[in-house]
C-alpha cells in the first residue's frame, strides 16, 4: 500500500465545477463556510454561465465555484489544488485553472460517450485529448449516490442523483481533513422543510467522506491547511451584495430613517433587491419598479419625503437613471445609487466583472454635475462602503454613487459582525424650527455648503425646489448668468469639501518603496497579493488603494508625488489613470496595467507585468 502524502499548505484553492443544475454553488458554499468556521480566511468566486438554459452537459452550461481558503487569502486564486469536474464539459472548461500538481476529482460515471460528445470531445480519452497529465481520482459519484440511498425506496433515482454534489463535497472534506459536523448542520438548515432530502444529503456526505478514507490507497495527496490564529469575535461569510444591503440597513438604523429601495432587476445587482425585500420586519420598503428610471425617481420621491433612499442597478441601468440622478444633484437631495459593474458596453458581458463604469459615474451626465463616488474593495468591505455612502449622502444632502462590481458582488469573504456602536452617528441635515422665518431652500451651512432638509409635513417650511437653476440666495428660479456660475461653483465646492470627512489615503508595502501601485475598488485583493508577493521577493514596492474617487482623499497628491514610478492597475482601458492625470498634472512617470476581459486580474500575469515595469529604466 502506497503511503499517502499530507501536504501542509498555507492556503488552498478548490474549484467545484459541473453543469449549472449540478449544485456546485451549494457544495462550494458549504465548503467555504466549513473552512471559515475552522478559522481560515476565505475568498470565493462563482462563475455562472451567461445562458440560463444552456443544454445540460454542454460547454455553455458549465458553472463553477472557486474557494480559496487558508492564511492571508486576498483573492479567489488563479490555479486550483483540487478541481472537481462533475462532467466532461466541466473538465474541458476548467482546464485553464489547473496547475501541474493539481488533483482532479471526476464523476467517472458521466465520462461516457454521450457526455463526451456533448462536451465536443472527438476521442474517448478526454485527458489525452486535453493533454492533461495530472493525478485523477475517478470516483463513481453517481453509482455511489444510488447505492448510498438504495434504502430510500420512496425517492426516485433522479432525485438521488441530485445528491452528487454533496457526495463530491464529502470526498473533498476528507481530502482537506475537514470534519463534517458543520456541513451536516448547514445541510439541515438548508433543507429544514424537506427532511428526507436533508437525510439523503447527509448520508451521501458521510459516504463521500468514507469513500476517501476507504480508498485512500488510490489517492496520493491529502492537504492540511495551516491553522491561523483567529481573532476574537463573531463571524459570518458574506458576499458583496448582501454586505451592501446590510450596510444600508445599518445606516438606516443609525440615522433613524426608514430605508427605501427603488430598483429594477439586473445582473449582477439584483440580489440587493432580493436581500432587502426579505426584511419587511425591519420596516424596509422595496419597490420593484417598471424600469430603472422609475427606480431612481421613486427613490428621489422617497428621499424628498424623508426616507434614506437607495436605487440599485448595473451599468445599463445607470444610463437610464442618469437624468434623474442629475435632478438629485440639482435639488440637492440625499440618494444612494449603487452600480454593480459588469462587462459593457450595451448588454455586454452581463455576468462578468469590469471596472468600466468609472468615468460614467464621474461624468456621465449633462451639465457640470459633481457627484461623490465611492468604491467597494472586498465583499466584506461593501458593508462599510454602503454605510459611509449613506452617511455622506444624508449629512451632505447629495446623491452618492457606490461602485461595486460582479466580482465583489458575488464573491464572498469572512466578515466580522460589527457592533453598530462602533460606527459613527448619521445626522440628517434638517431645518430647525427657529430657522422658519429666514429659511430658503438653498441657504447653506457655510462650512460644508450643505443646504437644509425640510420634509413635507414640517410646518412653516413650505417651499419649491426643482431641476431649474435657482437663485443662490432666495432659491427662486434664476436665469442670471453670474448666478448660474456661482451655483455651478457651489455644487462643485460642496462635493470637494466632503474630503474633510473622509479617511486619508494609506499606503501598504515597504517604507522605502520607489514604485507605487495604484488601484481602486474590487481589485484590492489581487493588487495587495501582488504587492505582498513582490515585496517578499525584495522589490521596493507599495500599494495605494482608493475607495473614494470623488472627492479624492486630501493627501492624494502628496502621496503620488513621493514615488518615482506610479502604476495604475485597473480592469478597464485606463479610466482612473486618466482621471488622476486630469486632477494632477506632471505626475512622476505613470504606467498603466489594464485588463478588459470581463475577468479579475490573474496573479501571475499581474506580477509579471509589474516586474517588467519595475525593471524599465
Amino acid at each position: 500500500m502506497e503511503d499517502i502524502t499530507v501536504k501542509q499548505l498555507k492556503n488552498v484553492v478548490v474549484l467545484f465545477s459541473g453543469d449549472s443544475g449540478d449544485g456546485m454553488q451549494l457544495a462550494g458554499n458549504i465548503f467555504s463556510a466549513v473552512c471559515a468556521i475552522l478559522g481560515d480566511d476565505i475568498c470565493t468566486y462563482p462563475d455562472y454561465p451567461a445562458e440560463i438554459r444552456a443544454p445540460q452537459g454542454t460547454l455553455g452550461g458549465v458553472s463553477g465555484f472557486k474557494i480559496h481558503a487558508g492564511r492571508d487569502v486576498m483573492t479567489p486564486g488563479d490555479h486550483c489544488n483540487v478541481l472537481v469536474a462533475m462532467n466532461p464539459a466541466a473538465l474541458k472548461r476548467m482546464k485553464k485553472c489547473l496547475a501541474p500538481n493539481s488533483v482532479i476529482v471526476i464523476d467517472v460515471d458521466t465520462f461516457n460517450a454521450a457526455e463526451l460528445q456533448k462536451a465536443e470531445f472527438t476521442t474517448d480519452d478526454p485527458f489525452e485529448e486535453l493533454g492533461i497529465k495530472n493525478e485523477v481520482i475517478a470516483a463513481p459519484l453517481s453509482t455511489m449516490c444510488l447505492n448510498s440511498l438504495a434504502k430510500m425506496t420512496d425517492m426516485p433515482n433522479k432525485n438521488k442523483l441530485k445528491c452528487r454534489n454533496i457526495m463530491a463535497l464529502g470526498l473533498v472534506c476528507w481530502m482537506f481533513e475537514r470534519p463534517l459536523e458543520h456541513a451536516v448542520k448547514m445541510i439541515k438548515e438548508k433543507f429544514a422543510s424537506k427532511p428526507d432530502i436533508a437525510e439523503a444529503n447527509i448520508r451521501v456526505l458521510q459516504d463521500g467522506y468514507n469513500y476517501g478514507h476507504n480508498v485512500h490507497a488510490s489517492i496520493a495527496v491529502r492537504y492540511k491547511i495551516e491553522p491561523k490564529i483567529p481573532q476574537k469575535g463573531t463571524y459570518t461569510e458574506i458576499n458583496g451584495n448582501k454586505a451592501l444591503a446590510f450596510g444600508l440597513i445599518a445606516a438606516a438604523e443609525k440615522s433613524h430613517l426608514e430605508l427605501f429601495l427603488g430598483s429594477y432587476p439586473i445582473t449582477p445587482a439584483t440580489d440587493i433587491l432580493h436581500e432587502l425585500a426579505k426584511h419587511k420586519s425591519l420596516g424596509i420598503k422595496t419597490v420593484q419598479c417598471e424600469d430603472e428610471i422609475s427606480g431612481c425617481c421613486m427613490a428621489i420621491g422617497a428621499s424628498y419625503a424623508g426616507d434614506l433612499a437607495v436605487t440599485s442597478t448595473s451599468g445599463p441601468g445607470i444610463c437610464l437613471k442618469s437624468e434623474a440622478m442629475n435632478l438629485a444633484i440639482m435639488a440637492e437631495l440625499p440618494l444612494v445609487i449603487i452600480d454593480v459593474q459588469r462587462g459593457g458596453p450595451s448588454t455586454g458581458l452581463p455576468t462578468k466583472t469590469e471596472q468600466t463604469d468609472l468615468l460614467q459615474a464621474l461624468f456621465g451626465r449633462n451639465g457640470e454635475s459633481p457627484m461623490p463616488v465611492v468604491s467597494a474593495t472586498t465583499p466584506a468591505n461593501c458593508f462599510d462602503t454602503a454605510y459611509m455612502a449613506c452617511k455622506i449622502a444624508i449629512e451632505h444632502m447629495t446623491p452618492v454613487i457606490v461602485l461595486s462590481d460582479a466580482f465583489v458582488a458575488n464573491g464572498s469573504s469572512i466578515w466580522h459582525i460589527p457592533s453598530l456602536q462602533d460606527y459613527p452617528d448619521i445626522t440628517p441635515h434638517d431645518v430647525s424650527a427657529d430657522m422658519a422665518s429666514k429659511w430658503a431652500p438653498y441657504i447653506r451651512d457655510p462650512q460644508t455648503l450643505t443646504r437644509y432638509r425640510a420634509i413635507p409635513g414640517t410646518e412653516d417650511f413650505c417651499h419649491v425646489i426643482g431641476g431649474l437653476e435657482k437663485d443662490d440666495e432666495t432659491g427662486k428660479i434664476s436665469y442670471d448668468p453670474q448666478n448660474h456660475e456661482t451655483m455651478v461653483e457651489k455644487r462643485n465646492q460642496k462635493v470637494a469639501l466632503i474630503a474633510k470627512d473622509l479617511p486619508l489615503l494609506t499606503v501598504k508595502g515597504t517604507p522605502d518603496a520607489d514604485t507605487l501601485i495604484i488601484g481602486w475598488g474590487g481589485t484590492y485583493g489581487h493588487l495587495l497579493e501582488a504587492v505582498t508577493l513582490l515585496t517578499e521577493k525584495g522589490e521596493k514596492i507599495a500599494l495605494a488603494h482608493f475607495q473614494w474617487i470623488n472627492p479624492l482623499p486630501s493627501n492624494t497628491e502628496e502621496i503620488l508625488r513621493s514615488y518615482k514610478k506610479i502604476i495604475v492597475a485597473e480592469l478597464n482601458s485606463g479610466q482612473f489613470a486618466a482621471y488622476l492625470r486630469m486632477k494632477f498634472q506632471n505626475l512622476p512617470y505613470m504606467y498603466q496595467i489594464n485588463c478588459v476581459q470581463g475577468q479579475p486580474f490573474e496573479e501571475d500575469i499581474l506580477t509579471e507585468q509589474i516586474t517588467q515595469i519595475i525593471k524599465e529604466k
Partner: protein, 338 residues
Amino acid sequence: MIEDTILTAEDFSNGVKGRWCAGCGDFGIHSSLKKAMAEIGIPPSKTVVISGIGCSSRMAYHLNGYCFHTIHGRPIAIASGCKIANPDINVWTICGDGDSMAIGGNHFIHALRRNVNINIVLLNNRIYGLTKGQYSPTSERGFVSKSSPYGTVEDPFRPSELIIGASGEFFARCVATDGPGSVAALTAASKHKGTAVVEVLTNCVTFNNGSFERIYSKEAREENALYLEHGKPMLFGKNKEFGIVQHGFDLKVVKVGEGGYTLKDVLVHDAHCTDRTLHTKLSSLEGPDFPLVLGVIRDVAIPTYEEEVENQIKEISEKKNYHNFDELMKTQTTWTIE
C-alpha cells in the same frame, strides 16, 4: 396650526403669479386647484405637488405647499416614491399630455396598475406647449403642427382608455374654464383612495387654439357636455331634455318623452361599478352624435399600494423574530471565536 382652521384658496397661493400666455387654460385650473385644496382641508404643509416639465408643470411654482418641479415624464414615479415613503401626506402630480403619455407613459400605466394613492392632474391640451407646438400623443390623426407640417399619420391615445385599461380605478374629466366642475372633479380625486386621474381639457391659445371649442364655453357645454353624477340619470342639453339609453350593444342619445323613451329608460350613472365596460364606453363618447362626458366617470375603491405595503410590514413584523440590525445578525449563520 389649529386642526379645524378653515382653509381658503389663498392659503395655497404663494403669491407668485402664473406665467402662462394670456388666455391659457392653465390659469383656470390653477385657480380651481387652490379652491379644491382648500375644500379638501389638508393644510399646505401636508400637501405635496410634484410636477414634470411642460407649461402645465410650471404649476408647482405657483402654489403654497411642498412643491417639487422635477423632470420631463417622471413626476408620477417621484410622487409614487414620495407617497409610499410617507402615506400621511396628500400627493398631487401635475403633468401634461406629453409628460404623462409620451415620455412618461410607462410610469403612468404602472402607477395606475399599482394603485398608489396619488392624485394625477393631467392637463391635456393636445400639444407640446413648452417646446412651442409639436403634436402630442393626444393630437388627432392628420393634425398639422410644426413637427407634422403635412399632418400626423398616427392615431392618438384616448387618455380614458389608457387609464381604465391600465386598471385605473378613478377617472374624472373637466374643462379648465369650468371652475365648479374642475373643483368638484379635483376634490373627488383627492378623496378617492388610490391612483386618481383628472383629465383637464385645457386650451393652448398659442399653439392649438380652439381644440376644445365644442365644450370650452359655458354655453357650449350646456349643449354638448354630459355631467355625470353617481346615482343620477344621464341627462344633458340646455333643459336636460336629452338622455343616454342603452341601445342593443351600444348607447344612444334620445330626447326624453319622444320616440317612446321616458326618464325610466335613461341610464343612471354608477361610478362605483367594478366592471369597466360602460365607464370606458362613456368616457370615449364624442361628437357630433354624442355629448362629451364630464365629471367623475369611475370611482371604485380597492386597497392602495402603500396600505398593502404597510400591512405587509405589520404582518411580517409580527411573524419574524428580528426587528433591528443586531437581531438580524443573529439570524445569520455565524461562528464565534472567544
